[in-house]
C-alpha cells in the first residue's frame, strides 16, 4: 500500500545564476502530490510528459528525498526507513536498464542475490519468475539483442524477485507492441488479484482506462483528481477519460489564475 501526502521536490535550474532569487534558481518538479494506492488494486498515475510522474516514483522508491511532505510504503516512511521501504517495494523504472552482456537469467539472479537470497534460493526464485513470465525461450540468451518486450519482462522479473508487496511500474508499456502490451496487462492483473498493490504510471489515457481500478491525475506537479474511472467521469461530466483529463488539468490552471 502506498500513501503519499503532499510530496514536494524541486531541482536546481541548470545554468541559473546564483544571484537570482531562490524562486528562479529552483524549479519545482513536484509541487504537491497526494494520493493512495491500495493492496489488490491497480492504481494509475496519469499525466502528460513532464508532469512529475517519474520524480514522484523516484521519491517513493527512496532514490531521492522529498523536500516536504511524506509518503508511506506498507507503513514505512520513505524518508527515514529506507531499507524497509526497499524491501517491500519492487520498482521498474521507465527504461528497462538490464545488462546487455548478461543473460536474462543472470540479470534476474544478480538482483535476487543483492536482495539477500542465497545462491540456491536465487536460482529457484529466478526459475519461478522465468516460468511465470513465460521467458523460457530466451532465458539463457544474452540480453543484447532482446526486443523491447523481452527487456521489459526481464526488468519486471527483477522488480519482483524479492516478492515485494508493492510494485511500481514507470511507463512499462513504452515501446511495446500490441501483443506484448496485452501480455503485460495480463501479468499486472494477475499480480493485483494475488493481493499486490500496483502503481502504474502512464501518459496514455486508453491504457489507464483499460487497466486501472483507481486513477490519480497529475498535472504540472500536482495531483488534481483521484478516484475510480467512473467517479472521475461523473465528477467532470465527461464521457471519456481524455476529456475528463483536460477538464481536470484546466481546473487547476483556472484555480491558479484566480
Amino acid at each position: 500500500m502506498i500513501v503519499a501526502n503532499q510530496l514536494h521536490k524541486s531541482f536546481k535550474r541548470l545554468g541559473a545564476s546564483r544571484r537570482a532569487p531562490k524562486s528562479e534558481q529552483y524549479i519545482a518538479a513536484v509541487k504537491s502530490v497526494s494520493f493512495s494506492a491500495l493492496d489488490g488494486c491497480i492504481t494509475g498515475l496519469l499525466g502528460p510528459n513532464g508532469a512529475g510522474k517519474s520524480t514522484t516514483l523516484r521519491m517513493l522508491a527512496t532514490l531521492i528525498k522529498p523536500e516536504s511532505g511524506n509518503a508511506m510504503i506498507d507503513g514505512h516512511d520513505v524518508a527515514t526507513q529506507v531499507l524497509q521501504v526497499r524491501k517491500h517495494l519492487g520498482f521498474m523504472p521507465h527504461n528497462a536498464g538490464i545488462y546487455p552482456r548478461l543473460t536474462a537469467r543472470e540479470n534476474i539472479h544478480y538482483y535476487a542475490r543483492l536482495c539477500g537470497l542465497t545462491r540456491k534460493q536465487s536460482q529457484q526464485r529466478t526459475g519461478e519468475l522465468i516460468e511465470q513470465l513465460t521467458m523460457l525461450k530466451f532465458a539463457d540468451r544474452r540480453a543484447t539483442g532482446f526486443s523491447q518486450g523481452q527487456k521489459t519482462k526481464v526488468a519486471l522479473a527483477r522488480a519482483l524477485v524479492h516478492r515485494p508487496q508493492t510494485l511500481m511500474l514507470d511507463e512499462p508499456t513504452n515501446g511495446l507492441d500490441v501483443m506484448a502490451t496485452r501480455g503485460l496487462r495480463e501479468i499486472i492483473r494477475q499480480l493485483a488479484s494475488e493481493g499486490h498493490c500496483i502503481l502504474f504510471s502512464s501518459h496514455i489515457m486508453q491504457e489507464v482506462a483499460a487497466l486501472c481500478d483507481h486513477i490519480a491525475i497529475i498535472s504540472d506537479g500536482t495531483v488534481v483528481m483521484e478516484d475510480s474511472l467512473n467517479e472521475i467521469l461523473k465528477r467532470t461530466g465527461q464521457n471519456d477519460l481524455e476529456d475528463a483529463f483536460v477538464q481536470a488539468a484546466q481546473s487547476l490552471n483556472h484555480g491558479e489564475d484566480e
Binding site: 523516484r58 532514490l63 517495494l89 523504472p93 538490464i98 548478461l102 543483492l114 536482495c115 539477500g116 524479492h162
Partner: protein, 388 residues
Amino acid sequence: MNLFIVMYKEIVDNLRDRQTVFYALLFGPVLLPLLIGGSLVASFKQMTIDYDAVTTLSVVNAEKAPTLMEFLYSNNIDTIAAPDDVEKSVRSGESLVVLEISDDYGEALRNGSPAPLTLHVNNADKDSAKATRRINAVLNVYEQTLSSLRLQHRGIDPTTFDTLNIIEHDVSNEGANGQLLASILPFLFIMSMVMGGFYLAIDTTAGERERQSLEPLLSLPLSRTSVVMGKYAATVCFVLLSSALTALSIYILFRIFPLEIMGGQVRFDGPSVARAFFLVSPLILLISAMLISVSAITRSTKQAQTYLGVLMVIPMAPFFLLQYLNIRSSLTSMSLPMLSQYQLLENTVLGDAIPWLHVALSVAGTLVATAILLVLAARLYQREKLLD
C-alpha cells in the same frame, strides 16, 4: 557480502567485453612491454659491438698487407676479396665496409711515412656505421702497435707521447643505459595498471548510468556504499591481474634479450622483478580508486574516457619529471604516491639498497591517497544528481 556479489557480477560482465579484456590482458601486459622494452633493447643491441663475434671484411689488394690481414684475422675479422665495383657494393649494402689498401702501402711503411688505407663506408646505414666503428677500433690498435715499434726502433720510449693519462672512475652503480631502462619499468607497470582498469571502471560507473541500469540497482535493499565498493573491488581485480601479467612479461622479455649488452648492472631477474612488483603494488589500490572516483563524476562513457584520458598524465608525470630533473630520493619524495614508486623501482632494478623507511613511507602515502579517493567516490554515489 553485497560487495562481493557486485564485484563478481562486474567481473563476469566485463570479461565478456572484448575491449575491456583486450586492454587488461593484452595491451598493458604484452603489447606495451614488447613495444617499449623491445625497441629499447633492440637499439642498445645496435649500438653495442661484440668484438668476440666473427665477422667478414671485404678488402681490396689484400695481398699487399699480409701482416695487417693476419692482425685482422686474430681479431676475429675474416677477410674476403672485395667485389669489383666497391662503391656500388657499399651503397647497396651488399658489403658493409670495404678496406682498400693502396698500391704504395708497403713502400710507405718501409719508408716510415704514413701508410694510406681507405675505408669505404656508408654512414647513412646503421649496420655499416657499426661495422666501421669496429674496424676503426681494430685498426687503431694496429696503428698504436706500429707507432710504438717505430719509436722503439729509433730509441724513443713510446710513453713519451702519452702526456696525459685520463682515468674515468664512474661511481654510479649503473651506466646511463641502465638509468633509462630502469625508469621504463615503473612506467610499464603504471601504464598497464591504468589501462587494465580503465574500461571496467568506466563501464561499471558511467556505463551503468548511460544504460540507465543504475536506477533499478539503487532501489534495491542495499547501501550505495556497498555498490561503489563492489565496483571498486572489481576494478582492483582487473588492475591486479593486468599488473601481475606485466611483471611476468617483463621477466620473460629480459630472459629472451640478454642484458649483458647494457653493461650488465641492470637487474631483471626473478627476485628483482618480484620485488619491483611488491613495491609498486600499493598503486593497484590507488589507481583503481582514481579510476572509480573520476568516472563516478561522469555521465557517459564518452565523457569518462575524456576525463580519464586527461588523468592519464598523472601516472606519466613522474617519468618525465625524472627525465628532466634529477630528483634524489628523499623523505618528501617517498611520501608522494607514483613518484616514490618510480624511485623505488629504479633503485631496485639498479641494485641499490632501499631503506625500509622509504618503503613504509611510500606505502603509507599511497594508502592515504587511496582512502581519500574512496571516501570521495562513496560521497559521489550519495548525490541525488547521480540519477540525472
